[in-house]
């Protein structure tokens, strides 16, 4: 069994619901985003980017690529980062992580996020702390791979929502995407949702960063072109205002 995720940018509207649901469901502290949606070519949101003679706003959701050949796992000196043999999911054991951040340096996708010091807590009502997210710890074969309150100084990242997939549920980002642009499943099963989707698409799936030979298990489909009438004519005859 090999868990994988397909992302169809044609269906992605750049709303970032996946990112927020991921953060909320997995109790990510301030500054930590396991899952982000970038606009290709700019660090800003809601900004067009000149691509050749056109304007584009191409949304690229990025989270852990769950590489079969994961450089973060190779780099980890304590075996805190490991590939779950049953599912191919890349996980981090918070109890083994010593916070050396070798994995973050090794990851070509920049998806690992580090808790500098004691993780921030969210302000709640009347000077209390508000605790959000999945409220129970989750262990995979004894490894602590999810804890609602993060230990100090650990690395964290997407787990494919291990606490959900172990219950037979899809990761939160996949069930929550309003555009149904994220599809989860078992790549080894020809009848799985992800295989059905990828096999049925008229576009060839691709993975990110092939030059790193990481063999990611997050697959992307190409998005369509936008034909544009008068996209870049500067000053636009100063009409209308």
């Amino acid at each position: 069994m090999r868990y994988a995720m397909a992302i169809d940018p044609d269906r992605c509207i750049g709303c970032r619901t996946c990112a927020v649901v991921c953060k909320n469901f997995n109790a990510q502290p301030q500054g930590i985003w396991w899952n982000r949606v970038f606009t290709s070519g700019t660090p800003e949101y809601d900004v067009a980017v000149k691509v050749d003679d056109q304007l584009r706003m191409e949304f690229v959701p990025i989270s852990c690529q769950h590489c079969t050949n994961a450089p973060c796992v190779t780099a980890c000196p304590t075996q805190a980062s490991y590939v779950d043999a049953d599912t191919g999911t890349v996980l981090v054991d918070y109890e083994r992580c010593i916070g050396c951040r070798m994995c973050a340096s090794a990851c070509p996708y920049g998806v690992r996020q580090y808790n500098w010091g004691k993780p921030a807590q969210m302000a709640g009502l009347d000077d209390t702390v508000y605790a959000y997210g999945y409220p129970r710890e989750y262990r995979d074969d004894g490894h602590l791979v999810y804890a609602p309150e993060r230990p100090e100084g650990v690395m964290e990242k997407c787990t494919f929502c291990a606490q959900l997939t172990s219950q037979g549920l899809d990761p939160a980002c996949c069930t929550a995407c309003p555009g149904n642009a994220r599809i989860f499943g078992d790549m080894d099963d020809a009848d799985s949702a992800i295989r059905t989707y990828l096999d049925g698409a008229d576009r060839e799936p691709f993975t990110l960063g092939d030059e790193y030979h990481t063999e990611p298990n997050v697959f992307y489909l190409a998005s369509h072109e936008v034909s544009q009438v008068n996209p870049l004519e500067d000053a636009a005859d100063e009409k209308g205002a």
Binding site: M1, D10, P119, Y130, Q167, C177, N180, S192, V226
Partner: protein, 884 residues
């Protein structure tokens, strides 16, 4: 329901595949045995409760929440809509509502003013007595209609929010409608169709084969519905997006047409000309359902009545709100009286000039409405329109041919296009294209608007209109501009002296927020009573603030024009602190203002609020009429219940009865009975020709193009043309619903906690401004600050600010301080209490931009971050907006 509830969600996914629709990627990988995979997680225990996220986006998304220790910990979409493509429904804002529900800005205690005028906490008895006493004194002194009521869209809540309408109707307070407050539902609807609005529910979008979107950023403002456009594309349909500025909706369209700001009307008129000139129009539709064949008196510009014509008389038995006009019957070769009672096939001439003998012995020359339209369209050749729109004429011709030949074709008419002074003219032009192409009354066809959504989908009078109701309404525009010659509203003799605000933040969000603040400061408005669940500026400035339950803490009944599902909000957790359900608050307020009203407002204990809400729920469903009375509270406790509609098939089709059963226009605009609104289309047809005096005076009897700012900014101040050369667009943000969610820490992080101003790089360079500069947008009325973002997608004459930022986060400046509520006199002709009033033209604002000293205030840096004490002063350097 217990966790894990694998079976139902898996079932949903299975259904999707079996339905053979677009593959929907839900569900577990087939064959995956959880036991063989990761160790199963410890079941959570407890239960998920289904409620409805229903703020002023009007999306009404089914959400499930899981609570522990009295607080919501997890939220997810319910994904239980029987029509699978509606699942999952809910966006990033609603799915992080828990952070503001239990956040530090939550209002949990009633607030009043002490003798020094300082805001202090109070118990409920004190606060309610204080509010009641102040309101009663103002009602006695200035009259009950001096109390203005601002409330949130009715469809977002009929029981608790409906209680505010009920109390307004109990005492005769002036309901300040949404049209002038929000500029939402476009006035072209009553001007053309005689109804408030009729729109496709979003699941009809997937049935369209061509969608023309004018200035509606669907991908941002209608996130839970946007995928239906994608599904239309996947089924071979095409989406063309018209907007001066690039956006997510331009990116997801098949084609983006970058037209000049406010030029959409010229584009639509040129399309109409091409469609008529190339004989691509649906002549049967125009002759049967529109006023095209009706004869117009060439001397007076008025439509000719059958009763005035020699040898003719009006259709017998027509009611007062109908008129029998005249057409030329080509089969009979004679003039004929046109019945307004039905819409039969006919042989009326669409074009031509006719001598019409009148009963007074004179003969006048008359032309058909269509003939006059053809003559008017002579001004809108593709070349002429191309000049106005700043594009090539060939593109207009090409798209016009597509619009005429690809069916069904659907026009989405957005706020970006509507919210201008001449927005109604543009709407009339776009409606003309929808009619010429015969798309009205067809599944996936026609014209829709998705701003505002004041439309009420069932009869609510049983709860909102108490016995002995006194209905009053007055647009706030008149408080600012003063009464006008054509004003039909009843203006309070001393103006508004008190405001009662429910679930709104007018001191930020009102188009004259600054004017309101000043009116409060000067005591011109003597009392502000505010019901809310967040500590907004309006709460902070209120005379009395009353803490309410959020939509996870009460029973409420919701509907939306975006989908057919009637849904409940249900209590997941108790309201925090002293916060209570609005139905209890308003019952107590009514009885304390006038104890004699207890028959209308029977008292109950706060802990019985749920039972009382249940009682009203049952009443509303029972008395709600044929669209809803098949539903019961028990059914809605189980999940969404579908509204009934008249046409066969699963999806409601607007105007189906008119087109297929030949029932005259208009459709009903609740809460008014049909006879109240029918007078706006006296012919019983779709009317493109308006013959009221003001339309004739302004040469707007037929749709036409009028340029922006000439009748407003430049007329008020000719210097504005030079001083404020940019158009100011306060668009909706992906991260807020108006001013709600502004304090959601996740939303703030994604925006770097910073209000921003978008300019084209050329526009910025002309002002020596660059990316990252802290700038000020200004005009003669006000200023707003933000960090500059150079964006080549912004039209060079435009300046964009994302509306909704609390001024608290923006050095006290307000984006609404630049806006002015211009009154278009044509809008006043169609005034109707609580339904129609002059539109708010947000975009009709000229501005300029300059460098500003300073930067974002520390408060926004601090407030947005989820830090307590010294928790994480040196937080992770990885922030949302930064490159990975």
């Amino acid at each position: 329901m217990e966790l894990p509830d694998i079976s139902r969600r898996t079932f949903v996914a299975t259904t999707a595949v079996a339905a053979g629709g677009a593959a929907v990627g839900l569900g577990v990988a087939a064959g995956a045995q959880p036991a063989d995979a990761l160790t199963p997680a410890e079941p959570l225990g407890g239960s998920w409760v289904r409620t409805t996220c229903s703020p002023n986006c009007t999306g009404a998304c089914g959400i499930e929440a899981w609570a522990e220790d009295g607080q919501v910990r997890l939220v997810r979409q319910a994904a239980d809509y029987p029509y699978e493509h509606y699942n999952p429904r809910g966006c990033l804002k609603g799915l992080s509502f828990n952070t503001i529900q239990h956040g530090p800005d939550r209002l949990t205690t009633p607030l009043i003013r002490d003798e020094a005028g300082n805001q202090v906490e109070a118990d409920w008895d004190t606060a309610l007595d204080d509010a009641a006493g102040r309101l009663r004194a103002i009602m006695d002194k200035y009259g009950p209609n001096s109390v203005g009521v601002i409330y949130q869209v009715q469809g977002t809540g009929h029981i608790q929010k409906g209680a505010l309408v009920r109390i307004a109707n109990t005492f005769g307070w002036s309901v300040i409608g949404g049209y002038e407050l929000n500029g939402d539902l476009p006035m072209f609807w009553p001007e053309t169709f005689g109804c408030q609005s009729e729109e496709l529910e979003s699941y009809c979008w997937e049935d369209s084969r061509l969608t023309l979107i004018f200035g509606s950023n669907i991908m941002v403002t209608r996130m839970p519905d946007a995928h239906f456009l994608t599904y239309s594309q996947e089924a071979g349909g095409k989406v063309i997006y018209f907007d001066p500025n690039y956006s997510a909706s331009a990116e997801k369209a098949d084609e983006w047409v970058r037209i000049a700001p406010d030029s959409d009307g010229a584009f639509a008129l040129a399309m109409a000309k091409v469609i008529i000139d190339e004989n691509l129009y649906d002549a049967h539709f125009m002759a049967t359902y529109t006023d095209s064949p009706l004869l117009i008196n060439g001397e007076t510009g008025k439509r000719i009545l059958a009763d005035d014509v020699a040898g003719l008389s009006a259709t017998p038995g027509i009611p007062d709100y109908r008129s029998s006009f005249v057409a030329f019957d080509e089969a009979a070769g004679a003039l004929a009286a046109v019945t307004p009672l039905e819409l039969p096939d006919n042989s009326f001439a669409l074009t031509g000039t006719y001598d019409v003998p009148l009963k007074d012995g004179t003969t006048v020359q008359a032309k058909t409405g269509f003939q006059l339209l053809v003559e008017r369209l002579a001004d809108y050749t593709p070349e002429a329109a191309a000049e106005i729109c700043g594009i090539d004429a060939d593109d207009i011709v090409r798209i016009a041919r597509e619009a005429a030949t690809v069916k069904p074709m659907h026009i989405i008419f957005g706020g970006g296009t509507q919210q201008w002074y001449h927005g109604d003219l543009k709407g009339r032009a776009c409606a003309l294209v929808a009619c010429l192409t015969g798309n009205i009354g067809q599944l996936g066809g026609g014209i829709s608007t998705y701003v505002g959504q004041y439309k009420t989908r069932f009869n609510t009078a049983s709860w909102m209109v108490p016995p002995d109701a006194v209905k009053a309404s007055c647009p706030f525009h008149y408080a600012v501009n003063g009464p006008t010659p054509l004003m039909k509203a009843t203006y309070p003799k001393d103006g508004f002296k008190a405001l009662v605000v429910g679930w709104g933040n007018p001191l930020e969000q009102h188009n004259v927020a600054n004017w309101l603040r000043e009116a409060l400061a000067s005591n011109d408005i003597e009392c502000l009573v505010c019901l809310d669940f967040q500590r907004t500026l309006t709460v902070a400035e209120a005379t009395v603030a009353l803490p309410c339950a959020s939509w996870y803490e009460k029973t409420e009944l919701t509907t939306t024009p975006l989908h057919p599902w009637v849904q409940l909000q249900q209590r997941v957790v108790d309201p925090p602190g002293q916060a209570r359900e609005e139905i209890w608050i308003l019952t107590e307020l009514a009885d304390r203002i006038d104890p004699a009203k207890e028959a209308v407002w029977p008292r109950f204990a706060p802990e019985d609020s749920e039972a009382k809400a249940d009682e009203v729920l049952a009443l509303l469903l029972r008395e709600g009429g044929p669209t809803i009375n098949h539903l019961t509270p028990e059914m809605l406790r189980e999940g969404p219940g579908k509204l009934a509609h008249a046409n066969p098939g699963e999806k409601r089709i607007p105007f189906w009865e008119q087109v297929n059963e030949r029932i005259p226009f208009p459709t009903v605009s609740r809460p008014n009975p049909l006879d109240v609104t029918s007078k706006f289309v006296r012919s019983g047809r779709i009317e493109f020709y308006r013959d009221e005096d003001v339309f004739l005076e302004l040469d707007e009897q037929l749709p036409r193009y009028k340029p922006p700012f000439e009748d407003t900014e430049y007329a008020a101040d000719p210097a504005a043309r030079e001083l404020y050369p940019l158009g100011y667009t306060t668009r909706n943000s992906a991260f807020r619903v108006h001013a709600t969610y502004v304090n959601d820490p996740f939303m703030l992080e994604m925006q770097d906690n910073t209000p921003k101003v978008w300019l084209n790089p050329a526009t910025a360079a002309e002002r020596n401004l660059k990316n990252g500069d802290w700038v000020e947008v200004y005009n003669s009325r006000g200023t707003v600050q933000g960090q500059l973002v150079e964006d080549p997608g912004v039209y060079p004459t435009q300046c964009i600010f994302d509306q909704g930022w609390w001024s608290h986060y923006d050095n006290g400046t307000s984006y609404n301080s630049l806006i002015w509520p211009w009154i278009n006199p044509t809008n006043e002709v169609y005034y109707l209490v609580s339904v129609w009033s002059p539109n708010m033209a947000w975009n009709e604002t000229a501005c300029n931009v300059r460098l500003c000293e300073g930067g974002r205030p520390q408060v926004v840096t601090d407030t947005g971050k989820s830090i307590l004490g010294d928790g994480a002063g040196a937080a992770s350097p990885i922030e949302y907006g930064k490159e990975a």
